[in-house]
Symmetry: C2
Subunit: 194 residues, 2 copies
Amino acid sequence: MSKDQLISYVKKFVPLDDIEAKQFVSNFEEVNVKKRQFIVQPNFTNKHRVFVVKGAFRSYALAPDGQEHTLQFAIENWWVSDFNSYIYQHPSTLFIVALEDSTILQIEFNKEQELKKVNHKFETFFRIMAEKGLAFEHRRIVINLTHSAEERYQNFLSNFPNFVQRVPQYALASYLGMTTEFLSRIRNKRAKKS
Amino acid sequence: MSKDQLISYVKKFVPLDDIEAKQFVSNFEEVNVKKRQFIVQPNFTNKHRVFVVKGAFRSYALAPDGQEHTLQFAIENWWVSDFNSYIYQHPSTLFIVALEDSTILQIEFNKEQELKKVNHKFETFFRIMAEKGLAFEHRRIVINLTHSAEERYQNFLSNFPNFVQRVPQYALASYLGMTTEFLSRIRNKRAKKS
DNA sequence: CTTATTTCTTGAACTACTTCATATTTATTG
DNA sequence: CAATAAATATGAAGTAGTTCAAGAAATAAG
């Protein structure tokens, strides 16, 4: 059952007894999402924090000139949301779209607040999630500032080999801050020579 | 007294009675830091989370080619650390240097763990800090991906007018992902014409 | 208050990456 | 399994931003 997957995920960070585990996941709702379906859209408040049970998602911003810029990818056992929209409960500025037919577990903002209030361990869990997320984004920013387009791609390859097969090239390119054409050239450069 | 400044900062996020406030800040040590002094250096583990009481700091990565890339600025009522080094207690990869003579309040990693364990409110506080930090970095990444060098500068100007006077141009340029020469041109372009 | 050091400025040549346009391949749908 | 759409590939021309070099201005130090 998909909720067991979430329970074992949470237990990696905080110890939970059976009652706590059950209470935690009872606040989550399972939803199936078809490929190309949006779960978050600009101007609508992102009401849920979502855990990916199966499938893949991509969050992106749409620039005035129509270009899409990928902020985040998420596959099994990752979380997705427009974090600014979710934590402040303000209208979103991002799209979040399914890259594959997917299954998610989502919790409403208010229920999450309740969980954090009622049990110190749940508070700790969400603290750890935020800290890991922040540390992750710091690493990303440093890499973006210090590396060339090709180095950023190679770095992504070695850090997230399992993502590479599952995300379209144009989305990966925009995640890495380059055009899909340029990423295409990077990828085919080595192959070409041989 | 500088610890009062920290107390009123914390109270903006979680309600604390006098005993709790006193307990919280008793774990912090006040330190004076001279301009150009380093409080974090690569290969040494970042042992403290630091709150800036007075002054200004800058954290940066040093690229193999010798270029400095600014990850973060911090002035009064901001926090600084090499977050990856601090939360995982691994060796740092960044420098953190004082841009002015400064006063900080620092807490040791173990003492912070203790605080979070002992009182749910303290856990909540650090959760909120991490969440706000993560939301902030998400905004930064979107801006970096979607805006030109000049737009990033203008955006920084309007969001952080009080930082601009206090950070050297080369540091701001590298924060914004451009060279100091290019930022100089952006700044002098408008003035030139009139 | 003079000298040394650091930071900022400006020009000119350069390059990493983009843009545009079109062809090719791969996926999706009836 | 055709037909259509979506994603990728590739060439050629363009540009935002870099690099290098050298001078001017501002800060720091004796």
